[in-house]
């Protein structure tokens, strides 16, 4: 179950950026829409122990280079055992991207690290689970 991630491509230098941008960061030309598969390699990662207001510690952050070239900043459940170059999957929930395949419990813990309304968080977890089940069925049907 690989996510398709919306991106944009520069017609002049072919750089792919995600999320999509209006103009290429390197050239004053309009970018064209593109998509990227949600899998790639870890470029770097860190665990932030003093996150800014609005986030809880420890906060796991990675830069992932997607197959097709675009780089992405995302959250993860843990960075223990992670290595630069490791292959990970990316999944979006409420427009926030998380790397690696995660179990339901790990994802529940992740949502709790972002402070917000409890109702929103539970809602997001439920939708994420429903999405997995739905995609699993689709795969089984095909």
């Amino acid at each position: 179950m690989i996510e398709i991630i919306a991106a944009s491509k520069c017609p002049r230098c072919d750089i792919v950026v995600a999320p999509p941008a209006t103009y290429c960061p390197h050239h004053p030309v309009a970018m064209t829409p593109a998509t990227l598969p949600g899998i790639g390699e870890v470029v770097s990662f860190t665990t932030l122990h003093t996150p800014p207001t609005g986030f809880r510690s420890p906060l796991h952050i990675a830069i992932v280079e997607l197959r097709g070239g675009g780089r992405f900043v995302c959250h993860g459940a843990d960075t223990r055992g992670l290595k630069i170059g490791a292959r990970v999957a990316i999944e979006a929930i409420d427009n926030v991207y998380y790397f690696s395949h995660l179990g339901a419990m790990e994802r529940a813990r992740l949502f709790w690290r972002r402070t917000g309304h409890a109702g929103d968080r539970v809602n997001a977890i439920a939708r994420s689970l429903a999405k997995r089940v739905w995609k699993g069925r689709q795969r089984a049907a095909s």
Partner: protein
């Protein structure tokens, strides 16, 4: 182009200060003006990164000018995130070089220790790409991401990075205006609290209050501004291919060396933007001060120590002198001028003729290199 000289410098003690920001800036500015023998400058350039958020005041150039008795001197404010001070020096330099002014007071400073660390982190973090920020990415987080690649791909060792902090603390211990005036050991650095893995607390510069000022003049003085360069890069770190070298530093250095008509081989000492210890190693290579891949070794060998071949951050750098954001770029020029005029007390670099100041704005989106020469 009109030659530009530094007629006077001034700086407050950097650290936790109780005075309001305009008072700190006035202290530095009046010291610089007194040294220049000038009652009033023709124009003022003020650098503060974010007074709206840190102290709740806007229109800050007028605020500061009025506070120090120059309500009728034209003042403007310059901002390029953490390199605002260097950008202000450039603005003053450009006014004189263009023949628009004969004397310009440049004053930079920040006041932040009155706020809690997560709040300060968040405000500084607003200079990061808005999308990346929605992930809780802060400056230490980005620096942690850069450092991990530096260690994994370039083979830079934890000991080499720690030695930068050890050296700069040793220098700060000789600077009576530094935020930190005590030495630290490699072990203390390596055992300090983890901030953004693999970056630890003693790899990071402190949150500081303080201000620094320089008076630039068309009149001949002991130190001349030989060249200024400005380099830029993408706001979003994810839009860059390269993480272990800053294109904005390389571009700024190229421009500054071209203007000055000399290269890195002439530099006797440098003030380098070590907001995070590994940045000093990267910057030494980006500035051409050491060959690629050798900054860590040179640091361990003592080449960049006060008594080494090329002293780096004799003031203590951002690490030990402290980092009052927009004050830093000006404070670096102050240190270079003190060194070039033989007034750097027990941290004096002998017979210094050429000095370099390097300032990073944001995560290297707006970098500056300023070259100074004993005229």
């Amino acid at each position: 182009m009109q030659p530009v000289f530094v007629a006077g410098v001034g700086m407050t003690r950097i650290g936790r200060r109780s005075e309001p920001l305009p008072a700190l800036m006035a202290e530095a500015a009046h010291a610089a003006l007194a040294e220049a023998g000038l009652e009033a400058p023709e124009a003022i350039v003020v650098a503060t990164m974010n007074p709206e958020e840190f102290v709740g005041d806007g229109n800050f150039a007028s605020n500061v000018a009025t506070h120090m008795g120059f309500a009728h001197v034209p003042a403007l404010r310059i901002e390029t995130a953490t390199s605002s001070g260097a950008a202000a020096v450039y603005t003053g330099f450009a006014q004189i070089a263009a023949g628009l002014r004969r004397t310009v007071l440049v004053v930079g400073g920040e006041k932040m220790t009155h706020l809690a660390t997560p709040k300060v982190s968040e405000i500084i973090g607003r200079s990061i790409d808005p999308y990346e920020r929605t992930y809780g990415v802060t400056m230490p987080a980005l620096a942690g991401l850069v450092t991990r690649v530096l260690m994994a791909r370039q083979g830079v060792s934890a000991r080499e990075i720690a030695q930068v902090a050890v050296k700069n603390h040793a220098n700060g211990a000789r600077n009576p205006l530094a935020h930190f005036q005590q030495a630290v050991t490699v072990e203390e650095v390596l055992e300090s609290r983890m901030v953004a893995d693999p970056l630890r607390l003693l790899h990071c510069c402190p949150i500081s209050d303080g201000a620094a000022a320089v008076v630039l003049s068309a009149e001949r003085a002991t130190v001349r501004v030989a060249g200024v360069g400005h380099g830029a890069d993408t706001l979003a770190v994810r839009h860059r291919r390269e993480l272990t070298s800053f294109a904005a530093t390389r571009a700024a250095a190229r421009e500054a060396y071209a203007m000055a008509g000399f290269g890195p081989e002439r530099i006797d000492l440098a003030e380098v933007h070590d907001a995070f210890a590994p940045f000093e190693l990267m910057s030494l290579e980006d500035l051409g001060l050491v060959p690629p891949g050798t900054a860590g070794r040179a640091t361990l060998d003592g080449d960049t120590a006060l008594d080494g071949r090329l002293p780096i951050n004799p003031s203590g750098g951002l690490k030990a002198r402290g980092h009052p954001l927009a004050g830093t770029g000006v404070a670096q020029i102050v240190e270079c001028v003190l060194q070039l005029t033989g007034r750097a007390l027990t941290r004096q670099v002998p017979a210094a003729t050429y000095a370099l100041a390097h300032s990073i704005g944001g995560l290297a989106t707006n970098n500056w290199v300023t070259l100074l020469e004993r005229a």
